[in-house]
């Protein structure tokens, strides 16, 4: 508590700004301010507080835009009141080690619009959030820069999807042409891959069998167990599954760790 905390609260919460205007003594008690500190706050010009508060909200939108550029553009064009409402209602919390690609508030925006905008736009926002998170993920970038250790000989060990890869499912085709609020309703599985350098990401549409296979490459099953499950639960062919696993391992999408054979 103290003067800086009180000023930060006044700049980010309408209720605290109203308290400063109408009941300054309450603000003094709440933040443990001295008379001189309270005088500094009450002496601040309303225009100055307003401009700075707008700047705080503008910076929040700017930060979210870094992660969700197309979603925010769509919101600005068609749902500006929602975006403004989000900026007014959201108070950023300090996080150590935060970079510009930190996606905390972007995730909050996706939650905020869920149920308030057309479902395709929510799905697209989730997709864009995933892209933003993967692009800024340091472990993913490191994995993308490592040489691929393709297996020579029969597949063995415990397969797991590379840290540079994400597999996700959507109820709308997030790979279709914009606008995001009119994406076709079509269950869509994608493989998103972090690359070293630019462009940082590549996206692939994958079929359900591929998604099921990659979903089982979680580092807990052996190659033999993955193949057995694909045969039993998906009705796949052993040779096909082995071929897909081999191609994914050769491409670095799946890594094989020594383990149970």
């Amino acid at each position: 508590m103290g003067l800086l905390e009180a000023l930060a609260a006044v700049l980010t919460r309408e209720s605290e700004l109203a308290t400063l205007r109408e009941h300054p003594a309450r603000l003094r008690r709440r933040y443990g301010l001295s008379d001189a500190e309270l005088a500094m706050l009450t002496g601040a010009s309303p225009a100055g507080l307003r401009v700075t508060g707008e700047s705080v909200r503008g910076k929040l939108v700017q930060k979210v835009t870094t992660c969700l550029p197309a979603t925010v553009a769509e919101l600005k064009a068609h749902h500006p009141e929602l975006l403004n409402g989000f900026a007014a209602a959201t108070v950023r919390r300090p996080r150590p080690g935060e970079g510009v690609t930190d996606s905390g508030e972007a995730g909050q925006l996706v939650t905020w619009i869920d149920g308030r905008v057309p479902a395709p736009l929510v799905d697209f926002a989730r997709y864009e959030l995933l892209c933003g998170q993967l692009a800024g993920d340091r472990r993913a970038a490191q994995a993308a820069g490592e040489p691929i250790l393709a297996p020579d000989g029969p597949l063995r060990g415990t397969p797991s999807v590379s840290p540079a890869v994400r597999v996700a499912f959507f109820d709308h085709d997030v790979t279709a042409e914009p606008p995001p609020s009119r994406l076709p309703a079509r269950r869509t599985s994608i493989l998103l891959r972090r690359q070293w350098g630019e462009p940082a990401l590549r996206v692939y549409r994958i079929n359900d069998a591929t998604a099921a296979l990659l979903g089982r490459c979680d580092g807990t099953r052996s190659v033999a167990e993955v193949i057995a499950e694909m045969i039993a639960e998906v009705g796949a062919d052993a040779e096909q599954v082995t071929g897909m696993l081999t191609r994914f391992a050769a491409a670095g999408v799946v890594r094989l760790a020594p383990g149970r054979y």
Binding site: M40, G43, V51, K63, R92, G99, R138, A140, A141, A144
Partner: protein, 286 residues
Amino acid sequence: MATHAGSWGCTVFEPRELGSGLGYRAELAEMIDQHADRIDWLEVITEHFLFAPADRRERLRALATRFPIVPHGVEMSIGSDREVDGAYLEALAALVAEIDAPWFSDHLCFTRTDQVALGVLVPLPRTRETARRLGHRAQRVQDAVGAPFLLENITYYVDLAGPLSEAQFIAEVMENCECHLLLDLTNLDINARNHDFDPLEFLGTIPVERVAQVHLAGGADTDDGEPSLDTHGEPVPPRVWELLAELVGRTTVRATLVERDRNFPDDPYELLAEIDRARTLLAGGV
């Protein structure tokens, strides 16, 4: 870089001359690449690279082979009640070493409290106690990073009027550290007009010999009683050029930097002309 022993036994860094530079922005990358011979140095936003993935850091290192690069921070929040985050400082020291930065800089302000990350530069109460605390902390930051630390005056719209003027506050901070100043002349011009003080009196109060670098940009003027805004979206106005000429008449400035964050001109020569003009003024021209 030149160093000597300071009054408290700490190392004093003497920033070297860099010339006339430009703030690096992704939108300007192509222009910077094509006109590298007309840009003496670059300033990057520290937080764009501090905790960035390794490939982005690799691109920064490649850029540093072509230009001197200075990391300019916006999130150190040196004025917060707490000490600067240790992980932030450690990462900053690594970044400065990695690109062999001649110095690093941040703002005389706070951007966060224990409860709120404001994300914008907010002014501090201008008391001697705050100035002393800030100066001592800035010295600790400089010592921890191991390179010259430049502190920048901000544009402020909320005026936490204290016993000191802004210039007196800055002078008091400098009294309590061996750091240098990054004087943003646009911020000075905007503050002088918004808060009704004389910018020349300001220059006469701060220790101008500690000004190592200058920022130049254009803001948004209003004529409806609203504050003028520091937008970095317009050409550098004549008033700011006049302040630069005044400053170089009073002290040796090692570096100038043109900032543009929006309304990027279609014609690259608009920014290059500003860089050239700053270089001419640094050399004593008009």
